[in-house]
């Protein structure tokens, strides 16, 4: 079964999203939470890297953390799916392991 990766730091400030993208395998899932949700926005300097990842990995963003920071599904890159807390739990249950990129 595939790995679930969680990232919780802004990609504009830390390199953890970049590390995650570089070390996650095809078919794995990446969930952006807390300050990392801003990485999902359209038109940013990390959008190309994330769009490339969407081609062969599942990328999710925690909706409540996105709303907290003033953004909605309409503001994020096509191909990134929004989940709620229950969806977060489902993702953890569906994957063999969770790696937290701090």
């Amino acid at each position: 079964m595939a790995m679930l990766h969680t990232v919780n730091k802004s990609p504009f400030e830390r390199s953890s999203l970049n590390s995650c993208l570089n070390k996650s395998k095809e078919g794995s899932s990446i969930l952006l939470i807390e300050d990392a949700v801003v990485g999902a926005l359209k038109g940013t300097k990390v959008a190309d890297d994330l769009s490339a990842a969407i081609a062969n990995k599942n990328v999710y963003v925690l909706g409540s953390d996105l709303n907290t920071r003033g953004f909605t599904e309409a503001d994020i890159l096509d191909g990134i799916k929004t989940v709620d807390y229950a969806g977060f739990v489902d993702l953890v249950a569906e994957h063999s392991n969770v790696q937290s990129w701090l």
Binding site: L41, D65, N67, T68, R69
Partner: protein, 136 residues
């Protein structure tokens, strides 16, 4: 300075909510308003997210402190410098920011925008002019 008034600049570089820096800085800024100093704020790097509009914390259960920025104008804090390059790198524009204003007592209390869009180079010059710069 002989009149005892110093130029204070608070530089906000962190996104809100994930860490406590944004809220703590805002509290210090509001306290500083009580000391009759010349206070300006900067929002650069991820700090621009602090004044994003439509912040809605219902889902996360966190305290939405963004409305407090709207009170800054009432405390005569009306120079909020936002770095243009920081917005662009994050796919943002002024439209994504809250409408922050103040009433100009020297102009019949006309309502004016507090947000001043500046370039990275202009910001360097502004920082150079300060007596005290506090970053978070």
């Amino acid at each position: 300075m002989s009149d005892g008034i110093k130029k204070f600049m608070f530089v906000n570089t962190k996104a809100p909510y994930g860490t406590v820096y944004a809220l703590e800085s805002l509290e210090v800024v509001l306290i500083s308003a009580a000391f009759d100093q010349s206070v300006s704020l900067v929002f650069c790097d991820d700090g621009v997210f602090q004044i994003a509009n439509n912040q809605n914390t219902d889902g996360s259960g966190m305290k939405n402190f963004s409305p407090a920025y709207k009170a800054l104008g009432d405390y005569d804090i009306n120079k909020l410098y936002v770095e243009k390059e920081s917005l662009e790198e994050r796919g943002l524009s002024l439209d994504n920011l809250m409408d922050l204003t103040y009433e100009d007592e020297d102009d019949d209390w006309a309502e004016k925008p507090s947000i001043i869009l500046v370039s990275r180079a202009e910001l360097a010059d502004l920082m150079d002019e300060q007596d005290v710069v506090i970053s978070s």
